[in-house]
Amino acid sequence: MNSLFLEIAVVLLGIVLLLVEAFSDRSNKDYLAYLGAAGLTGVLALSFFPQIGPLPASSEAAFITSDILSVFFVRFLLVATIVTLLMIPGYRTVLERYLPSERAGGGVGEFAILPLFVCAGLMWMVSSIDFIMIFVSLELATITLYVLVTYLRQNTASLEAGTKFLILGALSTGFIVYGISWIFGVTGTTNILALPDAISTQPESSLYALLFGIAMILVALSFKTGAFPFQFWIPDVYQGAPTPITSYLSVASKAAGFVVLIRFLLSLEAIPVLANKLNAVITLLAALTLIFGNFAAIPQTNMKRLLGYSSVAHAGYLLMGIASLASLMAIPAIGFYFTGYLAMTMLSFVVLQAVSEATGGDEISRFNGLSKRSPFLAGAMLLSAASLAGIPFTAGFIGKLLIFEVALKQGHYGLVMLGCVTVAAGFYYYFKVIRAMYWQQPSEETAIPVSATTKWLVLLLGAGILILGIYPAPLLAALR
């Protein structure tokens, strides 16, 4: 199935669920999340059906493509959305606590439906080859995410996170639009694939104007991907947003931003003058992001903030891969890294959600003695921390290995050395969580309840981490 149909299917699913929600009287809205997840699983299955011919040579073909990159990330986004939806039933009590509803379950339903629209927007975004399409799909995702981040209307943290996200998101929209206008002004096109040809016909003197536009777009994409120096919103927004949305932000929307960055840079790669300049910039960004993400994470005491900084740090490793795009193995390495990142980040958010539900907070100290209160959750968190830190036999290790390999091949020796130092810093802050779970005494001895959905999510994501860490070949083959 080409990706146009998949996205339309997701949108239709969202509309159907909106109608179901409107006409149903049930006060427990969990069924909407399960329906959405089931529907998306169906869409995911559809994506494996052979393509019904290439995209028809209609006007749509100028906007979206169905190459390996887009097909892979469309599936990636579907999986991320399914996991997020399955996290929502476990979050329902928090939602009900912070929503001003007349009766139980009021307003909860939309929380499970809006992610579908975000998902459709992000899917369009990873398939886009035209800036206009990128812009509208990006805005579809971002504007819906503003609503989702602010969703807990009686929780000031969520409101503040939403406001910050809104202002900085709108700022990056301003930058991306301004950048698009300049690139359009110089080249006369908004199609990314047409850029190299359009640029090569331009006089040398227009180069700076073009670079100005490119710089604006890079600024906007740095906002989306959480690269230095535009990462400052991440910790606040991640901490304040509802936990399922935080995990979605850190995985899905980051991935879509990276895909756009990859497409953009791959297309500019064809122009040697630009490629050299951009490579230097990306290398610098990668280095600064690595340093900032890892070292700022060290003093954190709030788990969600820690994971926010950690997502900045992982953006640094991914940028290492982006800086090595000239290598054929770079995109498989980035795709693999992202898959592992999905499993480990979402696993830690699932555990975090269960723990903060039982203990009432997100601080690392809430994990104290978790190994006594719930050995299952502690083991899961141990696994995901090990993977985030890059311990062998986990997806995180193979991902870092692949990224370091392409970076070394492209001669980024300094970056790789820096990567190693920051990995050691990463050991420190991920081990802080392990310490809390295993060394410290719990504040109370009662066991932490684990719902069936959570249990299955943990088992699936944990299995994903281990399988990718021990037998990575099939996924890599699929990415090549």
Partner: protein, 105 residues
């Protein structure tokens, strides 16, 4: 007749003004106005590029379509943004950036 650079500088100044509002003002509503200024600056340069980069003798309407999209998106963004600001005001009785201190910076 003005040249393209005139319009571009006007648009750049408008963008800078918007950026200035975002960076210097502390009221979230006004900051939001600054963001609108930035979007409109982009629109001005797009329309100018469309007028000066003719395609087979006509204006490049692709750019004007993008402007049209940007205006619709901006309207949606304003609606959502103002809804968020209202909820924030209801909960915190403030629209000042400095009062957003629940989350540790």
């Amino acid at each position: 007749m003005p040249i393209l650079a005139n319009y571009l500088i006007a648009s750049g100044l408008l963008f800078a003004t918007g950026l200035g509002v975002v960076m210097l003002r502390r009221s979230i509503i006004v900051i939001f106005m600054g963001l609108e200024l930035m979007l409109n600056a982009a629109n001005l340069s797009l329309v100018a590029f469309s007028r000066y980069g003719l395609v087979s003798g006509h204006q490049n309407y692709n750019a004007q379509i993008l402007v049209f999209f940007i205006i619709s998106v901006a309207a949606a963004e304003v609606a959502v943004g103002l809804a968020i600001i209202v909820s924030l005001y209801r909960a915190r009785q403030t629209t000042h950036v400095e009062d957003l201190d629940t989350l540790k910076f």
